[in-house]
Amino acid sequence: MKRIGYTSSSDNFHDLYLGHGIYIHWLRNTLCKTIRLDLILSQAFRRPDNAYGALVSRLGERGTIAFPSMQELGRAVDHLYGAFLSTDVSVLGNRHFSHVSLEVLAPKHVEKSDCSGLLLSALDMVRQVAMEPLREDGEYRERYVLEEKRSLREQIISLYSDKMAYALRRCADEISGARVSSLGNEEDIEEIDAGRLVAFHRDLLRESEVHFYISGHISARDVIAVSRQIPLWFKATGRAEEKGKYQTETPMADTHSVRHLFECGQVKQSKLIYGFEVPVAQDLRSYVALLVLNALLGGEITSFLYRYMREDKRLCYFIESQVDPLLGRAYVLASVEREDYHSALEEINRGIDDLKGGRIMLKEWTRTMALLGHRIAALRDDRDALQRMNIRSLVSGFPITLGEMEYHLSSIRLEEVVHCARTMTPRVVYFLYGDQSEATVN
């Protein structure tokens, strides 16, 4: 076993490379009452593989060889003291992730007779869901495939119910020029070839990078037990000895103009999304600078847009900004009245101009940094966040650790944030408006 480059301090996951593209990450936190096991399979994002990945992930929860129905599987999980099992898929940068997670009580909280076997049973449950889905004559059960295709389609279209999420996705799609969805598109799901699913699953296990996270109230013995088990799971999959490192691609803009898109969507209150490109963070300092930029712009109650749009002009109740430093995107989201479209845009531009001009009072700067500092410190007890940070390290190619984030936060200068703001390139203004109002949008 060798330690890999991006390993970090005790406030973050420890990382071990086990060969064959398999990594173990562990984090000990004795305040936890549980142990979390997370198996993450990572592949380059490709259409329509994302749809196949999403379907295979759902089929894992439908039944395994040992527990052939979701009822039997669910009951077996419940008997592990109400362990919590979940499967999902996600996209980060140019990677697609399939994820099986199981959270089980730490031994000190269960009956003595169950102490020793609980973790191993939980571990085996993760293996079964990820690697031994129910098959009949070598194929996935046809009825399950049909039902899960339907569920996946419905999961995608349910996004239309959340108008803000829908508007944000439309804006993001317009900037990217393509839909980047962890679940796939409706048409991709429709066209999934059931006969290809088994081969897809086999390739997923053979070719993905494997990251196994164990976190919570764990002992060294637990980590060793897991480290011995995981390579055995993949022994028969025919994995190559070494895997290549991720390549982070910087998305290139295809145009330099700002597009204004309007959609009439039967909403009571209009949804305004202002999308920008920002340079993809190449190191942790530029990553932190983007986080500070976001906090100053609209990420906190101390931000420009909160004050300008909500407090001063009362244009909205909901206003926030988001930034994705690894994809190079920033968004401002607001729920406004249709007739306030121009005023809202004006205020957003005012906030950005103030940032670009460095017009930030010392008091605002100090408050924002204090809030961000608190948020980063609080992440130390948040396993989910630490795991996400670890994955972000993998995708970005540079270490993202709490200690170093705190260092950069404490030393970052206003000029660096202003420089970031000046690189913000407006790309798309997307406005979803209702048709009740007489006001016109031009």
Partner: protein, 435 residues
């Protein structure tokens, strides 16, 4: 003032409780080494409270907004100076002011007390908040979950405060004046009407002392003369019909959504407590949980879209109900099948065969809830609302529950099957025929 210590061996957690001057209750769960501390002031000023013949709908929420606006500026900014993050929400039975911060929560205590006890604001500020709240009300109008939740409650309870939207409507907000809001503040924001919950890394005596000092500095004295009658409802009367009531609303969504609210009825002399809440939770898991025949049948028949099915118990001291919801391609069939499953659930033998699994699952869920300071504060508040001596009562109550006891409470509480149903339909909802 006496400080009481409670300890739970199963969780290895301790709770300290104290009643300070004026009847101010303090519940503390120290978690040495936690990087986040959560402190919550819960004021019994909610929708169901009344003053001068007027319910708290709109009023309690407006006050929650106004208290952030001190003449010196937004108090949230001063919390930010201390690295604290402050938020608030108003509900049926109260208004909660929640602070999250790192170590050193004691430094934030005076500011928290200033936030709730210092009721100074200007007319201009009230006008501004009217506009912001109008925007907030508009925002919720596009949220199918929000609309479905209140519509199902309205069908279950009729024209009753439990089914009224917390912020009120725009015309109600327009009628609020400073004088009434001041009187409301002076009436409800009293030490004996407030409980303080904290969980995280702090020193118990130091925190207690900070609270006593801040209370002396900011709290209004508890003068009986100044107190108005606080008149929460003893019990929300649900509709007594033995049939469900339906409503359908069109919203611009792609999947139809169903919301079923089923009131939990008490018999004379009974009260809501943690045991009852757990009994209903266990029952719901055994009747409609993901491992039950009924759920699997709904899922395999395509009546549940994706992972959208949810079945929860909502219980406060004045009312309790089950809320079942899902996105579905056929809302009518989903509702019919769900009521069928509920009506077939009143067989004692089914509970006997499944209670061990359900209790084991619940045990794990409860232990997990104590993992974070946020979870601990939530449990402390829930336990206090239901008259428990502490959140550890949940663990003890679970131990004592038997299949017979659980079944009896289930059958007696929801056996009437008189509920409210809201169907949120896509614009061309005419394809769904209502009963």
């Amino acid at each position: 003032m006496s400080l009481q210590r409670h300890y739970c061996g199963k969780l290895d957690e301790e709770l300290y409780t104290a009643t300070l001057s004026g009847g101010f209750e303090l519940w503390m769960m120290p978690k040495k080494g936690a990087r986040q501390t959560v402190a919550q002031l819960s004021v019994a000023s909610g929708v169901i409270h009344q003053m001068e013949g007027r319910y708290g709908v709109g009023v309690a929420h407006m006050l929650e907004h106004l208290l952030f606006e001190k003449p010196e500026g937004e108090i949230a900014q001063r919390f930010a100076d201390l690295g604290g993050d402050i938020n608030a929400s108003t509900g049926l039975e109260g208004t909660e002011y929640v602070l999250t911060c790192g170590v050193g929560v004691e430094e934030c205590v005076p500011l928290l007390f200033e936030l709730v006890f210092d009721g100074r604001w200007t007319e201009e500020r009230l006008d501004r908040e009217r506009e912001i709240i109008a925007s907030e009300i508009g925002l919720y109008g596009d949220d199918p979950e929000w609309v479905g939740y209140y519509s199902s409650l309205s069908n279950a309870y009729g024209n009753h405060p439990i089914a009224w939207e917390i912020a009120g409507d725009q015309s109600l907000v327009e009628t609020l004046d400073t004088g009434f809001l001041q009187r409301w503040h002076q009436t409800f924001y009293r030490p004996n009407n407030i409980a303080f919950f904290v969980a995280g890394d702090f020193e118990v005596r130091g925190f207690l002392s900070a609270c006593e000092t801040a209370l002396r500095q900011y709290a209004l004295p508890c003068s009986p003369r100044g107190m108005e009658l606080i008149n929460p409802l003893s019990e929300c009367p649900p509709c007594q019909d033995a049939t469900e009531k339906w409503a359908s609303i069109e919203l611009p969504i792609r999947n139809a959504q169903v919301f079923i609210a089923l009131p939990d009825l008490l018999t004379a002399g009974e009260g809501r407590n943690v045991q009852r809440e757990l009994a209903l939770e266990l029952s719901l898991d055994m009747v409609l949980g993901p491992t039950c025949d009924a759920y699997v049948a709904l899922y395999e028949a395509g009546l549940v879209a994706g992972d959208t099915f949810a079945a929860d118990v909502c219980m406060e001291s004045t009312c309790g109900f089950l809320l079942i919801s899902a996105e579905t391609a056929d809302p009518q069939a989903f509702t019919r099948e769900t009521f069928d499953a509920l009506s077939h659930s009143f067989r004692r033998a089914d509970f006997e065969g499944d209670i061990d699994r359900a209790k084991k699952k619940m045990y794990g869920q409860l232990v997990r809830s104590f993992e974070t300071p946020e979870g601990c504060v939530h449990l402390m508040e829930a336990a206090r609302q239901l008259g428990a001596s502490g959140p550890f009562d949940y663990m003890e109550a679970l131990d004592t529950l038997t299949s017979e006891g659980v079944f009896d409470q289930w059958k007696q509480g929801v056996g009437h099957l008189g509920g409210g149903v809201a169907l949120i339909l896509p614009p061309r909802g005419g394809q769904y025929e209502l009963k």
